[in-house]
Amino acid sequence: MAEVLVYVDHVDGAVRKPTLELLTLARRIGEPVAVALGNGAADTAAALAEHGAVKVLTADAPEFTDYLVVPKVDALQAAYDAVSPAAVLLPSSAEAKEIAARLALRIGSGIITDAVDLEAGDGGPVATQSAFAASYTTKSRVSKGVPVITVKPNSAAVEAAPAAGAVEALTVSFSATATGTKVLSRTPRESTGRPELTEAAIVVSGGRGVNGAENFAIIEALADSLGAAVGASRAAVDAGWYPHTNQVGQTGKSVSPQLYIASGISGAIQHRAGMQTSKTIVAVNKDAEAPIFDLVDYGVVGDLFAVVPQLTDEVKSRKG
């Protein structure tokens, strides 16, 4: 069976959920061969094997942390040369998309980004994309070269499928441009203890209606009662009430959870672009005319300062 390269997104050996989803999709096309780079690369093997990786190619070198993107492109290209895969799959993170694009150009292949589903087709894998703020669903293919496709989080269920996951060291020779962009320093983001926004099953978001940084405690309390991640509209972020990393929308994160709860958010097109594919959508807004209500499965027209805390109390008491 054809091999499919899967680029592994991990933090010091801990594999992130979107990569496990990719392995599920990769198995529809062929046999997943995972590529893990950087610190802790070999530690990813157990999780990858459990989810279907027949092989795990690993490489670590200071270049991966000291320089931007290109060293990882060099490594993925080395893996590509070693394997001759039928497709290359990467998660749709900002960095992985850049790696995917440069690899595609080098190997003479087309690229599809932000797929939300993937199937085997007669002429190679068929990707489903969602376009124009999710108002269209398209089916596309790469028509030249070996398909390079990036896939959004929450596009497939994680399935266990034990495989060999044999670890092999990958030999990488870095290109002349690898050291072009120096990473002078890196400040890791502090963990909030809440689920990762793009991966969470439930997202609770606040907008301009929350009216102040201190009031986000109301949104956080609801999120914590549901085990959810916290999101924010750009208006709330621009006002400095919540960090930019939590922004949902076109220029923020795109989320596709089982449940999205928007409070004090009007539902501008750029916000909708990032949450419209959520399975169930709920909104609390005091304006009955707010466009967000066009999207909802359930909406409450009311003051969020009354409705949200009441909901939180109710959730807590029901969960006992």
Binding site: E98, A100, R102, S135, T181, L184, R186, P188, H244, V300
Partner: protein, 261 residues
């Protein structure tokens, strides 16, 4: 020596309008107004600020797009860019990102550059990969997704805020930069700027000028193919209740019914 800055700007359909696919499954440009991608306004703004700090700098705005795309160039010129380059050719219709990066790379090289500045993503294709492709083609460093950028002599520095960390980056010119919407609010064109823009030069180039064969671009030259595009069915109208004091409890009831609690 003058710092040559090229800003890549895209002409896109207005996101607040009704965007559609045409019969050939490319973007239907007749149905909706076009404009300068709002995210590229941030690129123009950073170019203007970098030029202000430099002893001597010249800003060229560059677009690949149909005839109307001149509107995007005019907007950028009215913000303060010095001149414009418009690559237009009927054979470009339907070009994918790999092809677009080829055209932009050739046009950038022809124009001459020390620094290329792009937006973080277009507001239509939203791939966010073009700057990386451009750097790969030009063989220069990519310093992308910056929320803060500055140029000191022949060095470009910036801050990239990623998912798990915030990074300080540095590279030597020439380089390709892309900036996010966190990099600083873009200025509005002044009346004076709008008047001045009318007199600024807009150079038109076609594929022949760039020594690109028609087969390398367009729908036929694309390395990707769209097989179908279907409008997403409208969501079925949800339940909407007015809070009369029990709104939170009613919502909890709904969530429990959906097994979220």
């Amino acid at each position: 020596m003058s710092l040559r800055i090229v800003v890549c700007v895209k002409y896109v359909p207005d996101a607040t309008g009704d965007r559609h696919f045409a019969d050939d499954l490319t973007l239907d440009r007749d149905d909706v107004d076009g404009l300068l991608s709002e995210l590229d306004e941030y690129a123009v703004e950073q170019a203007l600020q970098i030029a202000d700090e430099a002893d001597d700098a010249e800003i060229t705005v560059l677009t690949v797009g149909p005839e109307d795309a001149k509107d995007a160039l005019r907007k950028a010129l009215s913000m303060g860019a010095d001149k414009a380059v418009h690559v237009e050719d009927d054979d470009l219709h339907g070009t994918d990102v790999i092809g677009t990066s080829l055209v932009l790379a050739k046009a950038v090289e022809k124009t001459g550059y020390d620094l290329v500045i792009c937006g973080m993503a277009s507001t239509d294709g939203t791939m966010g990969v073009l700057p990386a492709l451009l750097a790969e083609r030009l063989g220069v460093p990519q310093v992308t997704l910056l929320s803060e950028v500055s140029v000191d002599g022949t060095t470009v520095k910036g801050r990239r805020d990623g998912d798990s960390a915030s990074e300080q980056l540095e590279a030597s010119l020439p380089a390709v930069v892309s900036v996010t919407d966190q990099s600083g609010e873009a200025r509005y064109p002044s009346f004076k700027g709008i008047m001045a823009a009318k007199k600024k030069p807009v150079e038109s180039l076609d594929l022949e000028d760039l020594e690109i064969e028609a087969e390398e671009v367009g729908l036929g030259g694309s390395w990707t193919a769209v097989d179908s595009a279907a409008e997403r069915p409208a969501r079925t109208a949800g339940t909407i209740v007015k809070d009369e004091g029990e709104g939170g409890k009613q919502l909890a009831e709904f969530l429990a019914g959906q097994k979220f609690i």
